[in-house]
Symmetry: C2
Subunit: 261 residues, 2 copies
């Protein structure tokens, strides 16, 4: 076939055209191929979270494309919040390890009154084998080793959220109560700092449930009170699920806030 005007470069060859295979065109514009290469480099940890990636013109040289094409690739990654652009400074790998990003995925806000910072307080941490549900959610074999964390989230020193968090043991080997207690900030900032696992997106399923004995004691509400049940799957680069959590949210003084577009 035709490789058009694309030049070779160090890593692979870019195809400007149909990816052979006359059946389906699978046309992929150059900037998407650049985007995929950047994604690959991010996944491989070529640049650490919070660090600057090379400038647009450097990348243009590296990939033998124009600066505008690199720009468009970075634009998409910035829109997806994998990269952060800062005019005059450079483009940085997004990180949860930054107070402003600590609870980026938390949708709970106070019903009345100002926003107060959340605090994660670990309760327990143990090893387990994946039952059918966690196995399905985390896309690991039944019986695979897991680490489970129980913790609460406090606003103004009051428990508002109780979570049970399931992690594949392998990437998080070494996670224990001492580490959890020592860490300031969100769990995702810990995952990133200690294990190099960066969550890029998540999906939540919300239901209404009644507080059982355990939940009522944890959150300081009557047994039989209504609570939100929130299940979350978090994904790292390549949309690989790396965390499943199920939580109970008290909506006495807070509510789950969601923007619809």
């Amino acid at each position: 076939m035709d490789d058009g005007k694309n030049l070779c470069f160090t890593e692979t060859k870019l195809s400007n055209w149909h990816d052979s295979m006359s059946g389906s065109p699978t046309f992929s514009p150059l900037y998407r191929q650049i985007k995929a290469l950047l994604l690959q480099a991010l996944d491989a940890g070529e640049w650490r979270p919070g660090a600057a990636i090379p400038s647009e013109s450097e990348l243009a040289v590296r990939y033998s494309v124009s600066q505008g094409t690199v720009r468009k690739a970075i634009d998409e990654l910035a829109t997806e919040k994998l990269l952060i652009r800062r005019q005059g400074k450079g483009t940085f790998v997004a990180t949860h390890n930054d107070p402003r990003q600590f609870f980026r995925f938390l949708r709970l806000v106070p019903t009345n009154g100002e926003v107060t910072p959340a605090r994660s307080v670990p309760l327990e941490c143990w090893q387990a084998k994946a039952g059918p549900e966690p196995a399905r959610m985390l896309d690991v074999p039944h019986g695979a080793p897991l680490i489970v964390v129980r913790r609460v989230l406090q606003f103004n020193k009051r428990n508002v959220v109780g979570d049970e968090i399931y992690l594949p043991a392998e990437p998080f080997r070494g996670l224990d109560m001492d580490m959890l207690k020592a860490h300031e900030g969100s769990l995702y900032s810990l995952f990133e700092a200690k294990f190099g696992v960066h969550m890029i997106r998540a999906q939540e399923r919300v239901r209404a449930v009644l507080a059982d004995r355990e939940g009522s004691e944890l959150l300081g509400v009557e047994e039989g009170s209504p609570l939100l049940s929130v299940e979350r799957i978090s994904y790292t680069y390549g949309d690989r699920p790396m965390e499943w959590r199920r939580g109970l949210y008290s909506t006495v003084d807070h509510c789950y806030l969601n923007e619809l577009n």
Copy 2:
């Protein structure tokens, strides 16, 4: 000050620079000014929902800018889902009046099993005066005339959501039960088709509550069952609130699904 290289055009003058006022720079790039003009035209109804807007090159001539600048303005409006681009055909004003967009803001999905279409069934419709809460939410004076609609949302002929919907009377004058019953599709498609009101975004606040007598009968659950309470404010062009609704969602067979980025 300096008007840079911008030329005049029919409607207003574009300023490439600081908007006078040395205090705050208020720099606004050209493409944002074009975007604002397009937004203004959309708000004024220059192009109807579902209709094509002029081509990029036509708009470039009209506004005396390059096609690339118009393109960037349209890009942002397309990202915000106010416009829809279709390669080879043109750029169209987004519309709720299209089966694929009918329940664009509805986050409820079946817990198990395939997605089934929702059906809106009106129950009541009456005139009222705005109490303090609707007045605040809709940004109208206390006592302002409202139209209130009660309806249920059905999946597979079963009631899953009960809503009470508050609308400012003025833009929706003429809305009644007959009209509601006659309309197929979502309320937003009706608002658009009959009243020219197009909702561009919304915000929801979710809490857990217990079913009272009325709610339990409506949704076919036990009194005291847990339900989601969902409040929504919907906004039209210019971020003007045009609808407030409060609903009860049964999460027996469905859950509220939310993507986090």
